[in-house]
Symmetry: D2
Subunit: 403 residues, 4 copies
């Protein structure tokens, strides 16, 4: 076994074939994609890469897998257990290989989702050989990563589920560690120990034992706190906006990166290297950390919606639509505390029932699917920022008269 | 300066007169009162005392005081600053001296609140001399601890306020550290750095700058998580119930401990020592860790109220009222996430307004003053526990039919 | 499985029979024996008990056992593995039951070593029944704890060995956590992962793989640092000296505690409770934290031996032998960094050899068995402390003239 | 004040002029120089940059400065204190700007030490303007960074001293945090609190109060452990060797980077970007993480010197000198535990003397200036690695016959 040392999980052990998978260029490239993109401009220490996250997700997913198979021994034959364990590990190692530089900004600029890239990458000869050596089927791996396979519903949730996935379980701990934001930590030990396979409508899905509800709450809260502190931080969001403009300039033809070889040549560092000789305002802003947008107001309560719209309208009227940028949660939806778009939140197994976590926990009910995060920015070149803030403050103030 | 090493705050420095205060018998006695009473029966490592908490509260309160006076320099003359700094430190050191063995259980059994004990203790000659040496007025100290003085409203909040007090700010960090429950941690550095003096109705009260709202949220969430995980843990609550019976047997006459000298002779360890020769069921249960109650059901959502009442009624009917114990949040109200009983939650200073934190944060609005924690226990000697659980599960199940 | 939450190891799982063992009075009594005795007088947060340590030692020992049996599968039959795993866990849970109040002070005062008490305790009916329920042989357990059995040499080292025992591996981490002294931490994960069974002279002993030498160094250094910072701290040592006098007064007849029932009635808290009504100088000193000794000089290098002796002689001559107390390492020998009294330090398995760790690591060679810690105290009632310090400083100074 | 959040130090506050200094291109470039160069190939999470270290060094140096000026108030006039505080902060922020890609590998390949680059960089107009805005003299800053000024001896030690410099004090904590190697932590709080100005030969130098000797020991040990675990890790050293060859190929003319503008265009990421199209063996090895060297043997005790030489000779004879690479401590001398090249180790202030730390601590005496770290590598393309290891093992084994 090869041992990798990780500050979040301690030792992580890899089988020799997995270690060789890790040495593939498509995996080594993840060292040059930062897990949090431009967040290092707000949290300087957030320089960790998707590479360490991939190994961490494998570690976390393995703990989840080992818990549910031990707790529900007999559901699977031991031969199946061995195969599925290899499968979930390989899928977690590879789950991020389809990301381009700065991930979502790249997707927006090029209009190609990372899932499609993943499909091409898993078809490459060296990756296919690597998966063969790991004794897993490449199409099973792809199915788990894309989340469109029906063969292994529980594994699919571990790899790409909306709530109890090892991806999220690792990145929360990791982002909290590297930014230093302590409130992103949660009771991971207890959450993992509570996870169970639950039979619903004839298939085995992920869920938790009722004794783990408090740890599930801590997980939801950690998601909330990291969203509020880090993922939706105004400095990061502002520079991501700038970056989006830069990428559009850099790749005027969105098909430039369609060939997977060309796509794989790009990473965060190469984009930054290219900034060196670019001359647009956006490129200069990103290179020299110039603040071409400034925050005029931010909103995060449902009751703020009317204020938000009134402020946006007032700013546009006063300074021109082209000088106002409204940033909304919809751009970072996947980071929200808890999703219930596709049915339940998380199944909870009590003494004699299977319940939705919202029925068991008031807190989870309150935080599910409800976040009203909006920020209003103005351009610093054409707007008097103090004035813009005053405009918003006056509008917001009116509502609170008498408080 | 004397230096004390503390795992939560690192070095804590004391002036010589404060160090002598610490050596007084009434302070040394705090080493024999556990901060979390019987919680060590559920979290074995929770053996920390009120003594370390007193020193930690001094450290935390000093950081708050130094921040608000630095940020709002000029509000106080430097002479006032020196006096008030000494005052808030002395008050925090002494704020828990009035507690009896196992604190609230002792108060309930004897019917005397710890505030009254504090008043008597602060009148003792050696304490008075110690405060003189610290150059603070004993009546000012008492006013802050009891929270009934109008002289120093901001200091009073630091010492005994309902939300931003250094008492709570320290004990959350400390209880999280010693139990090992990581979700009790919050962004203390950022919260302290955001604290401000705010002018309301002619006096200076504590509040926070709007940039600190996320850290305030993390603080509220930490309170929620510690309540859910630790303070309202069923094992602890059950043994506290047993302890209450033990103390009533031990002190049949509630006036036995009225003389302050007699009161001070008692601490957690002495109560446990006395258990050795007691023969009642309760005494034996506590001594030998026998579970004379068992949890039949628990509830924590507002929507559960009807279920709770139905279950309680059903259990009483089936097993007799004397075999059912309903534990409610009202017994641990002071531990709830956020209080808004006496007006606002926390004032938040924005660009041009002073708002209630509930108006700024959806999350704080949702968690304030709303917790519906209830547990139903049955006696193990007279009740078939599995049956009792079945009774409750059936009632609760009915409501969720169709989920 | 019962789960216990521990801040050092996270979750610790116990089998039902082990959990019942934990509920025995002889185990619950460990909650009233502090792991570090009086060290809380120097490090206030060091209030952790031998109870949490016993559970932690079980956790650590299980990790060691699982590593060596996995790495050297085939050495033992699987039936043996199951038995030995239960055995080492039971022995670690019970390894400290023979300690009296304040441990070594109690042993010195009464002249009975804790091993003898352990023998009597393991013969008690409820303990014997508990071990039967755990399906382990009580005499095997006793053999491991006393270290005098030849049946399971590797297990004996895990339970009571001089260097790689789980006892030490847990208490270092635990003492570092609860005192807050970070330098007591070591790379436990890597050390455990490196442990191996090594064949020497026909039996299997504990050792480490050569790739773990750095983690072994970190372990030795942690032992050194905790010794220097905590275990030999002058405040603790001084009060332990006072305590020894107190215990002699309390138990003038050393046979008072010979009956095991009487012995088990005593714990740290009961001793402190008894102090309340004692009137000797020593009792008052301990109760009211009076410093009846003061440190005149301390020495920790081998080259200091002559200075130490010269200072001791000078102080005795000047102030009288009865007013000088020389504290030496010999009283805390078991805490020293590394022992090599009984042969090698730790066996290290390289490619083709088995070497003593001293041959592989310069650092280990330098720190093994060599510590020259001495402190000179004088009585504060009869000696001018400043003068005593001057006497020593002058003697020490002479040697360094010209440095 | 601008606030930067850092996982090692928490909040770090910067004055507006310092924050602007941080935004200069020469500082932002440090985000693209990794603090530990290629160590991420052995410790994947070691991706932290010199940028976060620069801010951390400022934080650490400020704590040291504030301690020594508070403890020795009166030595400096308050006007001097203000100037020197600004000066030491600016120097620490800028102390690493002269480093090229992968630092020491770059220096070796180009033959220009980073100090010279620093001189040129501090002469740049925007840097000079930035320092003016900070109200410090650029030549004073340069003197501190280069360590060749006699004006501020204590500040010079904080910035570039051999033992108690803030540079080292920060990077140890930081490297330990980001690699996850816990044994690199030391008692920083206590070490800082013990630091003092000491008068020696008419000038004020840095030293520590004798009560801080244990924390100094912990610092020395942390240096030792990080050296053994991380800085001299064989994987890192091997790839650094490969990198050196790559850089020589990339820059055949060592003067290519002499113009400071050209030099500043280069950073770690750009070197890696250039690897993409390079075709040499070394370039491919580094790009694809191929192990073109393998470790044959390593040595770290003084007594190993003869073995090392014998092994090196045997390997060269058997496989050819061109296939053997002997890596020695001399290449990483600045990372050694404790330096005493230029006189004392660290001055220690006792009651009435100033002593060298070696006279006070056996441990420090043992570890000072004595490390015998050597590794022997062979090329994997031309050498049978197993055979090479056998050759060395046999030689080393001979000496231990009889152990």
């Amino acid at each position: 076994m090869k041992r990798i040392f990780d500050p979040v999980h301690g030792f992580i052990e890899l089988y020799p074939a997995e270690a060789r998978l890790l040495d593939l260029p498509v995996m080594q490239r993840l060292r040059r994609l930062r897990q949090l993109g431009l967040a290092y401009l707000a949290f300087p220490a957030a320089e960790h890469s998707r590479f360490t996250h991939a190994v961490g997700a494998l570690a976390m997913g393995t703990r989840v897998f080992d818990t549910i198979t031990r707790e529900d021994a007999g559901v699977l034959s031991s031969r199946d257990v061995d195969y599925q364990r290899r499968l979930v590990r390989a899928a977690l190692l590879l789950h991020d290989v389809g990301h381009g530089p700065f991930s979502h900004a790249c997707e927006s600029a090029l209009g190609v989702r990372h899932e499609l890239r993943t499909e091409h990458i898993l078809a490459m000869a060296d990756v296919r050989d690597g998966l063969d050596a790991c004794e897993v089927d490449a199409s099973d791996v792809l199915g788990l990563i894309l989340g469109n396979s029906h063969s292994y519903p529980a594994l699919r949730e571990i790899v790409s589920g909306p709530n109890l996935d090892a991806d999220r379980m690792d990145y929360l701990l990791r982002d909290a560690y590297f930014t230093g934001v302590v409130s992103g930590r949660y009771d991971a030990d207890q959450l993992v120990a509570s996870m169970r396979l639950i039979e619903r409508d004839g298939s085995s899905v992920l869920g938790i034992d009722v004794r783990g509800v408090v740890s599930l709450e801590s997980f939801i809260l950690a998601r909330y706190m990291m969203f509020a502190s880090v993922y939706f931080h105004h400095t990061t969001r502002m520079f991501e906006r700038v970056l989006y403009e830069v990428l559009q300039e850099m790749w005027p033809n969105p098909h430039t990166l369609d060939p997977i070889d060309e796509f794989l040549r790009w990473d965060d560092f190469r984009v930054i290297e290219h900034l060196r000789d670019a001359h647009s305002d956006a490129a200069r802003a990103l290179r020299d950390r110039l603040r071409i947008y400034a925050l005029a107001a931010e909103f995060n309560a449902s009751s703020d919606l009317a204020d938000f719209e009134a402020c946006q309208a007032a700013l546009c009227e006063r300074f021109g639509t082209e000088n106002v940028w409204a940033d909304e949660q919809s751009q970072v939806l996947h980071r929200l505390p808890m999703s219930a778009d596709h049915g339940p939140t998380v199944w909870v197994k009590t003494r004699n029932q299977i319940l939705d976590a919202r029925a068991v926990s008031d807190l989870i009910a309150k935080l599910t699917g409800k976040a009203y995060w909006r920020k209003l920015f103005v351009t610093t070149a054409h707007v008097d920022v103090a004035q813009a803030r005053e405009v918003c403050a006056t509008i917001v103030g009116r509502r609170h008269v008498g408080t």
